[in-house]
């Protein structure tokens, strides 16, 4: 065994995050690590890499007992982690990033730029990536940046590469490239720990799977011996009541008044001609491949970016917000795509995070009304089933799914009329996914207008009343409920790409 973690336990402020978890990976093996949010996957990884220290248990790596004090120590020992938010220096060149902190030097002790360039190009070539290594990393797409991060791991002679949801921001073609890369790593005897949620991907690329639930590792198996239903059952601990369970009302669309209509909107290069409408009490889906302008459209509606062309109407009245505050005043909320960057204030408590948008309405003479704040926070923690030790716990300690619920509550407590939600279930396990989609459905049934941006087809098919497809900054198709199918969506998305 390359890596063997046994009986790992860890508690945070008295709450057990891991209970006697174990994980074994052989060299040249791709191991899937799956589990719901809060199952303990990230904690296990962080203990392995030295970001957290375990309370008990043993870790053996290459047949030696190890206890890494810092992520740097585990990296030096040959464990590389590719995070969702890729940690490269965006303004430095590809070559500089690949050789960061291990720069080749000339005889005079100066940087050997030629060696860096040639070495970088050579290693990228093994992954079939032919790019200009002098360009800054920030210039490339998420997929390419990921590849660069992996290349960096390879040049560091990593024995184990941990990939935390590596496909979450990639489109299908890019996923294919990533998988090629993983196969190359495998052939070189490098082990990969693959954390992911998309079952098809797991079955395509992984050899074995470790399933976590409630801080424990509940199953280890070869991928081939684990049918999908079995895997999901292990993860959830019960039969999966999947997306199909989401009931949809069958009312007449045209009868509902239009709440939000965006007509021929344009801004910058990403949004060129987008039209989309959301009626009262419906979930309107916004689909499209990466870079098609979905998130950017949301940002224009919400007043983050400026509307340069076209119009936005709320209840028939033309609006163009200069600041999110103006949009919020009009009853709009935006749950953004990237929780860490645009969502949570990590050090603030759940209470504070949840009521941030409501604060101006929560005051008496400028002072926060603590009693009402407490009442609202308690109500939403209960209503959305947020799992936490107390409302005063810093939000950064929650799992992704629970953070998402807090951010959802942040807007729900402002009693919005329009909720824009960008990738509602990104980085959330299947169980919580269905839960959040059901929640959105019931909110819509109560009259909320939801604009749901999603790159997951099942999600759109399950929850949306109508889907607008964007491609290259333009809206190319609108699919009504009875026209919605996987093939219809795919062909609409593919339509303009080829």
């Amino acid at each position: 065994m390359l890596l063997s973690m046994q009986d790992i336990s860890k508690a945070f402020s008295g709450v057990a995050a891991l209970r006697s978890a174990s994980l074994e990976i052989a060299a040249g093996e791709v191991m899937a690590l799956v589990g719901q949010n809060g199952a303990g996957k990230s904690t296990l990884i962080k203990i392995l890499t030295g970001a957290y220290q375990r309370d008990s248990g043993t870790i053996r790596f290459e047949d030696e007992d190890v206890a890494f004090a810092t992520p740097g120590a585990s990296q030096a020992r040959g464990i590389a982690t590719i995070y969702q938010e890729i940690n490269l220096a965006p303004q430095r060149s590809v070559a500089e990033n690949i050789y960061l902190s291990r720069e080749p030097k000339t005889g005079l002790g100066l940087l050997d730029r030629r060696a860096m360039r040639d070495g970088a190009a050579a290693v990228l070539k093994t992954f079939n990536l032919d790019i200009d290594v002098d360009m800054p990393v920030g210039h490339f797409s998420a997929a390419t940046r990921q590849m660069i991060a992996i290349a960096r791991a390879v040049t560091q002679k990593a024995r184990l590469v941990i990939m935390d949801e590596p496909t979450s921001s990639l489109d299908e073609r890019e996923v294919g490239i990533l998988f090629e890369t993983i196969r190359t790593l495998k052939n070189n005897g490098v082990a990969v720990l693959f954390i992911g949620h998309r079952l098809d991907e797991l079955y395509e690329i992984c050899d074995r799977v470790t399933i976590m639930r409630d801080g424990q590792t509940v199953a280890h198996s070869a991928m081939a011996d684990m049918p999908k239903m079995e895997l999901v059952r292990n993860m959830l601990g019960k039969e999966l009541a999947a997306f199909q369970a989401i009931a949809r009302d069958s009312g007449d669309d045209a009868a509902k008044p239009v709440r939000l209509s965006v007509d021929n909107a344009g801004s910058g290069v990403r949004v060129r001609d987008v039209s989309v409408t959301v009626r009262e009490g419906e979930i309107s889906g916004l689909a499209g491949l990466l870079g098609s302008g979905r998130t950017e459209t949301a940002r224009i509606i919400f007043g983050v970016d400026k509307l340069e062309k076209g119009s936005i109407r709320i209840d028939g009245k033309a609006r163009s917000y200069g600041e999110p505050a103006d949009a919020i005043a009009d009853g709009i909320g935006l749950v953004s795509e990237d929780r860490k960057i645009d969502g949570i204030i990590p050090d603030m408590s759940i209470r504070e995070n949840m009521t941030l948008a409501l604060l101006p309405k929560l005051k008496k003479a400028g002072i926060v009304d603590r009693a009402r704040q407490q009442e609202i926070v308690t109500r939403y923690i209960k209503a959305l089933g947020v799992k936490c030790a107390s409302p005063d716990q810093p939000i950064k300690e929650l799992s992704g799914g629970n953070q998402q619920k807090v951010l959802l509550a942040r807007w729900l407590c402002t009693d919005p009329r329009i909720l824009i939600i960008d990738e509602p279930t990104r980085g959330i396990d299947i169980g919580a996914k269905a839960e959040i989609l059901k929640l959105l459905r019931s909110l819509a049934d109560e009259g909320l207008s939801v604009l749901m941006i999603s790159s997951e087809l099942e999600e759109l098919l399950a929850a949306a009343d109508r889907v607008t497809v964007l491609s290259d900054g333009k809206s190319v198709a609108v699919l009504k409920r009875d026209e919605l199918s996987e093939t219809a969506l795919l062909s609409a998305m593919a339509h303009q790409v080829n």
């Binding site: 206890a67 935006l334 204030i345 941030l356 604060l359 400028g366």
Partner: protein, 332 residues
Amino acid sequence: MTTIDTSAPGERAARPNMAQFLSRYGTFAAFILLVVFNLIVTPNFLSWQTLNVNLTQVATIVIVAVGMTLVIATGGIDLSVGSLMAIAGTAAPMIFMGTLLPIENMGVLIILSFILPVLLVMAFGWFNGMLVTRFSIQPIIATLVLFIAGRGIAQVATNGNLQVFKNPDFQFIAMGRIAGIPAQVIIMIIVAVLAHCLIRYTVIGRQIIAVGGNEKAARLTGIPVRRVKTFVYVVSGALAGIAGLIVVARNSASDANLVGLGMELDAIAAVAVGGSLLTGGRANIIGTVLGAFVIQLVRYTLLANGVPDAAALIVKAGLIIIAVFIQQRAKG
């Protein structure tokens, strides 16, 4: 493998993280240690005289450091406070000595000499805020502008001359006593309490923390980020102005070259020692007050025991390093 890593779960849970403990109570512990040390070593430490000297000297540091805490909580920094003190400190005597305004009534002049200088430096604070928010200049550079120019403005206004005065009414803020407590100490307490309540209980206070904690997310929740940031620079300016008035009143003289000299460093040090993160997102006013007391006590201890002021500076620097080190450990 280190010993901590292999310890049993029960044993581990019982032992709190040392760095976290220090970051929470370290400043207070240092303060107590200094007091105890002085009680033993320094002659006559336990006297009204000593308490008075220390309180009156620490008052201006606390007042300025409170403003600095707010600025740092948003992720900024205000280097201009010392220079703004000089501006307010030179403007006030010019007003009550009648060289600036054609007003005869002394009472009116005295009141104006409190109000106008503070308003003036608030305007400079607003200017800092504008540079930071409208022109997106990094706070350290933006406030460097007035750090340099501010003292120049004060020197030009007085032609570099020392203004000497004796005006009991104006000097009440430094020399006066209310119920036996020096007026400047009372001002210090009011400022600290108000700032503490502002941070803890008001909407703008929470917004300051949110902006420092994650500016992008704060904007997306509708927080007026620019207004919040401008606000803290204006408050920092106002408090520097008040401190400037106290300093000149205490000295019966206003020297544009010296008023508030090096104060920005004392204030930043008080904030750092007090446990607020210099990266923003946290504002610990009580910590800042304690931090200022620690810095003051260190200086006093060294002076009272015959160590020159220059050496005290080195100790001060050491304290900042220790404080920041503990914070970093506690964070990880």
